[in-house]
Amino acid sequence: MNASPASRRRIPAAYILAAWLAGILALALAFFYFFGGWTLSEPADLTICNGDEPQTLDPAIITGQLEGRLALALFEGLTTRNAKGDIVPGMAESWQISPDGLTYTFHLRSDAKWSNGMPLTAYDFLNSWERTLNPATASQYAYQLYYLVNGEAYGTGKLKDFSQVGVKAPDARTLIVTLTHPTAFFLELTSFQTLCPVYLPGIEKYGNNWMKPPNLVSNGPYCLKVWRLNDYILLEANPYYWRKVAFQRIKVLPTSNATTCLNLFSSGKLDLILDKNSVPASLVDKLREKPYFHANPFGGTAFVRYNVKRKPFDDLRVRKALALAIDKEDIVRKITRAGEPVAETLVPPGNKDYIPPLGPKYNPEEARKLLAEAGYPGGKGFPNVQMLYAKRSTPEQVAIELQALWQQELGITSITLRGQEWKVYLNTQSLIDFDLCLSAWVGDYNDPQTFLDMFVTDGGNNLTGWSNPTYDHLLDQSQAIPDPAQRMKLLQEMETILVDQDMPIVPLYYYVGISLYRNEKVAGFEPNFVDDHRWGVLYPPEKKP
């Protein structure tokens, strides 16, 4: 207080401020380093964008694709897939199938081990499958084991004795599986995460924390080193895996924003983008010309569901009229833009044994005629109907386009749009509380059945109210036939009923997967039907195995 104003003014305020700022900054950075989880840089051979934070890494619980990709890097089933997506030996080095197609005998590798060095045995599979089927686990994909004798009874809690389920381990290296039907795609199922083994001693020891590093013991090509929520996951090559993998350390980012993904990729911080959702839709046209842009069709279909229990869609002529009036080319050209093939059938192309039927083609002339016959000439008197869709960018644009197409071609002006937030949409769809609904389905394995069995009478995923006894009967028949060619013919008959005869749905287009990677950095990434690219088979081009 007594200092003279002159001496006060000489205090260099700017310097004090600068020193104070520098001090605070240094403190903050130190704080970040110790408490903010900063690891400076975690070196990795390969950095992958996986699209979002995984909900879980428990193979029995997983339902989503992004979780599945991680789980299949950590775990391996009896079979696995090569780069092309073909089924090849995994934990089982060989197997025999009985002539009736009902009994599978798997022989496990003698060097099969867990990532902690413990031997992996047939009992591990037996116990893990018991865990997956056990109602207390609440696995939504447990139905993949319903193909086993008594699998469904055990899974729904009707049967309490697991020894009656069709899986046995006579010794540590043999697993015998008995099925209720000759299931042509069973070896595909054994490569899926739901049927992968988990390390039960770890689950017993750590409870809910068993899948956090360093507790997680895995048996696949990689083990889990770091898992930081919404930050990153670090995988390291499993030293006990039976094969050498090319990339030793993989960093997995949960980046969900497409623009951020592309920025990271452009600045060289990211080597592989796996998901169409991780690529900005508005830039697809431009990106398509780049050498690092890769598009591959896979087994998914977008389609329209009719509620056949409600007017006017209880009338086949109306369903057909609306189907014929859709210019699907227009939708894929204007909206989806990644080169999606237009769909005439529900089952996407890609299974070499299956010949799909021919569906109805774009024919507005015929559509107008049918609509007039049904009592709505030029769309006059057409009841008010609502089209349900999930409020996301592509479905919304498709819904608007369909509304416009039907107005333009058929004169129908009474279709209103009802976009709902994802979880609400799922709820409304499952209650069949709609007139029209934009839906999609992605196959779990490469077989037409993963699409066609949806539409059996009262099937949990039918959701159209449609029922046809012939269709149901054909499915039963197809499941009982051991001859694959005969079975495919029956499936084709089923699909003819679905997409050409009764038409409770209108297929719109098949999905195309988009991935971004530079050819000089990543190889072993080939298109396949189930869009299943195992990280363990990727390699840098100079290290071709």
């Binding site: 903050a28 970040f32 400076l40 428990d58 619980i61 686990t137 920025n263 937030e421 979880k423 799922l426």
Partner: protein
């Protein structure tokens, strides 16, 4: 004073109770199920899931069980991130948001106060107009426009700074800056306005009349009073900035808690929603209390009741 603070802290408990109750109940009453996905869940599996996550029975009984756990500090398990407790998630994500927001607010003060003071001193001159135009821009350009522009320039074009991520000091610069700008702008406007008011007061005229240098008048007398409205603004502002930002965290891929405010609702994750709302409300109540106490300490005219 101490009793008053204690009383405010005690009053915070029923407030938090009501906020959490409303969040939990609204989440359970809203249409949509936390477990639903494209493939329909068999009813027996859904029942088991609901049992595991303590979401079975009537909404009232779920609520009572949830509150029972909450009293013991257990925020339950997230339905979205299975096998992770909400406590676990908050423990990992909250420090990130707090540190990021804290730095951003510090930067906002360092930009805002000098800018506002500078503009006030040069009231209605060119410099004032320019500074206030900058503040207006800072306030009105939303972060989802500013952030991508800066990333484009400094990350993609110039390669000076990383485009996103978390883990090294250079990754923090852009998000802190983007987060700070709107607050800096608001602080600048607030400082200017309040400083102008103060500079017209009698005691400032007296100080000048006594021959005190202008710097002294400004820094020692005027700014000290002018800062008061800034303190009441800082309470709620800090609560907001410290609990993260959906846009900044998503664009820069930062593992904070900001994204959970929206995502937990979209995922119908009742425990996560209630958890983040609880954290935000607690911050808000606490920061308001702190700013009230500070004001009453600095300004003799104000007494907190």
């Amino acid at each position: 004073m101490t009793t008053l603070i204690l009383r405010r802290l005690i009053l915070a408990i029923p407030t938090l109770f009501i906020v959490v109750s409303l969040t939990f109940l609204l989440m359970r009453w809203a249409p949509g199920n936390p477990f639903s996905n494209e493939r329909k869940i068999p009813p027996e599996i859904l029942a088991e899931l609901e049992k595991q996550y303590d979401l079975n029975g009537t909404v009232t009984s779920q609520y009572l069980r949830y509150m029972g756990k909450l009293v013991h500090g257990d925020l339950s398990i997230s339905t979205q991130y299975r096998n992770r407790t909400v406590n676990d998630i908050l423990a990992q994500a909250l420090p990130v948001s707090v540190l990021l927001g804290g730095l951003a607010y510090l930067l906002a003060l360092l930009i805002g106060i000098p800018l506002g003071a500078y503009a006030a001193v040069r009231q209605d001159q060119k410099a004032d107009r320019l500074a206030m135009l900058a503040a207006l821009l800072g306030l009105s350009v939303p972060s989802f426009v500013l952030a991508p522009l800066l990333v484009m320039l400094f990350g993609v074009k110039l390669h000076w700074l990383p485009v996103a991520g978390w883990g090294s000091p250079d990754q923090i610069i852009l998000p802190v800056f983007c987060l700070a700008i709107p607050f800096a702008a608001a602080i600048a406007r607030l400082t200017r306005g309040s400083l102008l008011d103060v500079l017209n007061l009698d005691f400032i005229r007296t100080a000048r009349a006594k021959g005190l240098p202008e710097d002294e008048v400004l820094y020692r007398h005027a700014l000290k009073i002018a800062i008061l409205p800034l303190i009441s603004y800082s309470g709620p502002a800090l609560a907001g900035i410290l609990t993260g930002s959906l846009v900044i965290e998503t664009l820069f891929d930062i593992p904070g808690i900001g994204r959970f405010f929206i995502n937990s609702v979209l995922n119908r994750d009742p425990m996560m929603s209630a958890g983040v709302v609880l954290v935000f409300s607690a911050f808000l109540l606490f920061m308001n209390l702190v700013s009230d106490v500070l004001i009453s300490l600095l300004d003799r005219r104000v007494k907190i009741e």
